[in-house]
């Protein structure tokens, strides 16, 4: 499919250039306000992945890989998973009678409920999950859609 590597017509490219900023900001809003309104790490992460997929589909493979190279996406994936694990292990050492995944920030500094800085480790865990889900879905989309599968008859040399 040539349009996957070269991008689409200029009308599609212009409109998607305006729209993908809104989609990215909406995804980040879903992640950050995940403890107050519907959303959370999973919903925000998949919407951010969708903004990156829109960029690749409209402008072609080269432009997409210039904005977010594959090895950077792999690194972000691992950073998200490690951040989640570090938040969990820190709960064991901090706080009185600490256990795995103890919400130690909420016990020490309980903020005002219904505000942004209120729920302890929950917004940090949301950001870690969103990083992980967004980069995983982007990498698997790039690998599966941009692969060229060519069947050669056995016996012929390539």
């Amino acid at each position: 499919m040539d349009s996957v590597t070269k991008g689409m017509t200029p009308i599609v490219q212009t409109v998607s250039g305006w729209v993908k900023g809104f989609i990215l900001v909406f995804g980040i809003y879903l992640v950050l306000y995940g403890h107050l309104t519907p959303g959370g790490g999973f919903g925000g992460g998949v919407v951010v992945a969708m903004a990156l997929v829109l960029l690749v589909l409209a402008h072609g493979k080269e432009e997409g890989l210039k904005r977010m190279p594959m090895h950077v996406a792999g690194e972000l994936d691992s950073v998200g998973a490690l951040m989640f694990l570090v938040i969990a292990i820190l709960g064991m050492f901090a706080g009185l009678g600490g256990s795995f995944f103890n919400n130690f920030i909420a016990k020490a500094y309980p903020g005002e409920p219904y505000t942004l800085l209120s729920a302890g480790t929950i917004p940090l865990a949301n950001i870690a999950i969103a990083l992980k889900v967004a980069s995983s879905l982007f990498v698997v989309f790039m690998m599966l859609v941009l692969l060229r599968v060519v069947y050669t008859e056995p016996g012929k040399d390539s």
Binding site: L36, G39, P113, S118, A125
Partner: protein
């Protein structure tokens, strides 16, 4: 109305039968996307908004991946099932499974009355009553997912990581280079 959910489920069953039986692969892929969107409307009807955002994006990604896999030049088309005897045995086994599993549904509570209305000390009651006070989060689903049951979320992150690594390993073009002949060091005494 509970009847709206019944009509939605009948629509999903018909779309699933069309997806399995039709000969055209593009029509099958579009029908399975219709089943997915029926599930999303069902989630909105069940008062679950933050569960409903995720399958919208997941359905679009699965649609693009499946179309990329099915539409290629020179795909040989064929039709048919596996051996006839095997097909009859499978259908008979599915009928027996259906009739046996229907009896289980008499023990489940009726649709519209969850278990927490009948059990006084159900965990859901504890989470709903103390969620805001213990964690400070207004979204009780996020509080359950990341504070009360955070270990399950760690398990999910692990499974997602492993399945994505598995998919990448199968697809990747470059294999590891075989180590060439070991270099022989010459010792000069």
């Amino acid at each position: 109305m509970l009847e709206l959910m019944g009509l939605l489920l009948i629509f999903m069953v018909i779309a699933a039968i069309v997806a399995i039986e039709t000969r055209d692969l593009l029509a099958a892929v579009i029908s399975v996307t219709a089943v997915g969107f029926g599930v999303i409307i069902g989630f909105f009807y069940m008062r679950a908004p933050d569960v409903a955002i995720v399958p919208i994006v997941v359905e679009v990604l699965i649609l693009v991946i499946l179309i990329r896999a099915t539409l290629r030049v020179g795909l040989k088309t064929f039709v048919g099932n596996r051996a006839f005897f095997g097909m009859m045995v499978s259908i008979a086994m599915l009928m027996v499974l259906f009739l046996a599993a229907i009896r289980v549904f008499n023990d489940l509570p009726a649709f519209g009355e969850p278990i927490m209305t009948k059990m006084i000390d159900a965990p859901s009651r504890v989470y709903l009553a103390n969620g805001l006070h213990d964690t400070g989060a207004a979204n009780i689903v996020t509080a359950v997912l990341l504070d009360y049951r955070a270990y399950d979320t760690l398990g999910e992150a692990t499974v997602l990581f492993a399945s994505i690594i598995g998919a990448i390993t199968i697809i990747r073009k470059k294999a590891r280079k075989k180590p060439s002949e070991p270099e022989v060091e010459e010792w000069t005494v």
